[in-house]
């Protein structure tokens, strides 16, 4: 059986590379440089292993509004809706999820100028 393993993505993330965070913040939907692509691949592939599920967006109004949620790894278990995290653009949502993931994987809090919501 051909299996896809969640731990397969292993590009080493350097917590000092705040330039990559800034690059993502400038353009959450890309295009991105080579190193940011690798960083994003690692974050997206692993799917929030420190969380009870993968961060996802639930469409609350098509094309207009999205809610953050957590998709459990086990089939049949309900998606957790995070009703206090609602976004009106995909870019804004991407930035919020990126921040959560960066802080979880590096164990560091982002500096104030990089932790704000997307304008």
């Amino acid at each position: 059986m051909l299996v896809t393993y969640p731990e397969a993505a292993h590009w080493p993330i350097d917590p000092d590379r705040l330039d990559l965070v800034e690059e993502f913040r400038r353009q959450p939907r890309g295009p991105h440089g080579d190193e940011l692509q690798k960083l994003l691949h690692r974050l997206r592939w692993a799917g929030d292993p420190d969380q009870p599920g993968r961060y996802v967006l639930i469409v609350t109004q098509p094309g207009k509004e999205w809610m953050l949620g957590r998709l459990p790894r086990q089939r049949g278990r309900p998606i957790e809706l995070m009703r206090n995290h609602v976004f009106t653009s995909i870019a804004e949502a991407e930035w919020e999820v990126f921040k959560l993931r960066w802080e979880a994987i590096t164990g560091r809090t982002l500096p104030p100028h990089l932790s704000e919501k997307l304008a």
Partner: protein, 744 residues
Amino acid sequence: MTDTTSVLGYAWPMVVSPGEEVAFHLSSPSVSKADAALVRVRCGDPDPAGPGIRVHEMDAPFERTVPLVHQVIRPGSCAIVADGPALTSFQSFTVGAFLWPTMPGDRAQTILSRWRADTQEGWRLGLDAEGHLEFVVAAGGRTWRTATSAALLSREWVLAGARWDADAGRLAVMVRSADAQAGRDRSESVEADGPTGLEWPAAVPLVIAAHASDGGGDLFDGFYDGKIDRPRLHASVQPIDGLHRLCESVTFPMADARLVAAWDFSREMASERVIDLSAHHLHGRLRQMPTRGMTGANWDGSTDRWTDCPEQYGAIHFHSDDMADAEWEPTVRFTVPQEWRSGFYALRLRTDGGDEPVESFVAFFVRAELGKPRSNLAFVASTGTFLAYANSALRLDQVHAEAMLEGVLTLSRDDVYIQEHREVGLSTYDTHADGSGWSISSARRPILNMRPRGNVFNYGNDTHFIDWLEEMGQDYDVITDDDIHRHGVQVLAPYTCVVTGSHPEYISREVWDAFDAYQRSGGRHMYLGGNGFYWRIAYHPTVPHTIEMRRGMTGLRTWEGEAGETALAFTGEPSSTWRSNGRPPQRLVGVGFDGQVFTHSSPYRWLDGAKDPSLSWLTKGIDLATPLGDFGLRGNGAAGVEIDRVDFSLGSPPGTVWLATADRLGYGGTPAPEEIRTLHRGVMGDQNAQVRADLVYFPTANGGAVFSTGSIAWVCALSHAGYRNNVSQLTANVLKRFLDPTPL
């Protein structure tokens, strides 16, 4: 937030002719009635950047309020052998089979049984909750049990059986590993005290891969995941060597009166019957369509098709989540008026009493009757593809989904429902709970992504073309894959032009042959999609709207089938991609699948082929110095998502006119696996010119022609700027000329 799931249903049949009856099988766990309307679908995509949901309420004699009850779905496959005297005419017996369990230790599972769960009577061979083989006999309030000390391994063949010696009052379970070395050996025989005589329960079926819940004969429990090969039941006390001989035998002398049953799952492969080779004819029926044509413990690799050597394909892979028929009672019936145009239709169900408004659609299709066209244009509802993707949980279950889609997953209300309600049955993109591929898909169940407001892929995208036809004031008929499969080129022949939509991906041999014959006989085919004519499927020979596919060792596949299991049980044909069946899509439509791009879509740039003065009808009113389709609802371009290219070595006709290409897709352009021979860097779209979407035209025999766009995003660009754009103009130019009967 619109509630799209509190009311669900399916239409049966899924495709009807004017004058025929369609039944809507509906269910709701929370709503007792809903306002109902029959609607003709123009656009099913709620995206506010496009036309939005556009449906036309039909004036039809139909109940405006429908009562709803909760109807459950009971997944899980098994074989059921009706009770008969032969099943209770003995005391001592031996039972067993070759097993390839896929979820030992997940929960208790029954392999072979004549057992009532409610009264705990009968006998049962199974796996206990830890994966040990266990044998239980019980009657009169007493139970005897024995089990192995070691749990079985997942995906390793064993001979597994049990015996009850009534004279000696002993039970035994027996396991013999097929590969008894390197840590895989689970061989053992364990005995325990048993009864010296039993009274069997009355009127209980013998069940393979589950057991009866009660005496009613309709409810089953204890479903098993994995393969069972050559199950045998013998009214004698046999050591494991005796059981082994019984299971290895594939023919039986009728003189052996103690042979109660010997099932051969390689017989009547396409049917829902299992055949007993014994003198008792204890044939059974399958429920929920488990996977047949599976390699047995004796498969030796000498062939990869069950038709070559059926005796090596005596296994059925049962799944506790197999689901082919929701078995819901019909709620309302409707006879389609004769005057209705063919098209995409739906039953719309609404309530507004709860916290959120409910709006749920149940899709069905009204076909243009065979031989009675009402237009010279037909649009094909890609029902094969709709079924293949039915209730896809790919984004929920598969590790690669977020990386592939290049962004945080955006899930609909329907996805939220499917995550919790796996009983609706998944798609051929998904894996069963045991990790094996889902190869069968039916329409006797709610299909959440084949309806307006559903996830916009395939059905939703295709309605953008219907919307465009309506906007253009162009009349058309709708025909379906299912009908083309059944009636062949007769369905296509009446039309001057036939259009296939955004993703006609799943194609039976009959459908391919029909398009080939149509194109050869002067037909005009506009293929306005990407990744078309890609996978080879079969339709069930007797059950309507039911397809089977196998994902082999090539192609862009979300699961890979096991070696030797790429042939379709429904027909015996090879499955996998059409390219690996000697028919690359390029041969039929000029272009074939080469890659995906989800970062963004792109415009095409015009090539010299488009500047041929003889093609001025095609480019009329279009500035060839301007990019073609630098807009659209899918990634802001007309070329994207899944894309196809010209390749003369793969069969693009020598007469192909290469009109335009989108070959600068950036790093998001990812090539299909079959496009790469060896491993090397530089294969992505930023470096690889073979990852691209090509736009082509070529004339065929007898004045026919083909026009292909090679991109799923194409139809989602048609409505841009009030439908006044170069994608719309080009589509209109081609359609106009293709509807002109003058030979091309």
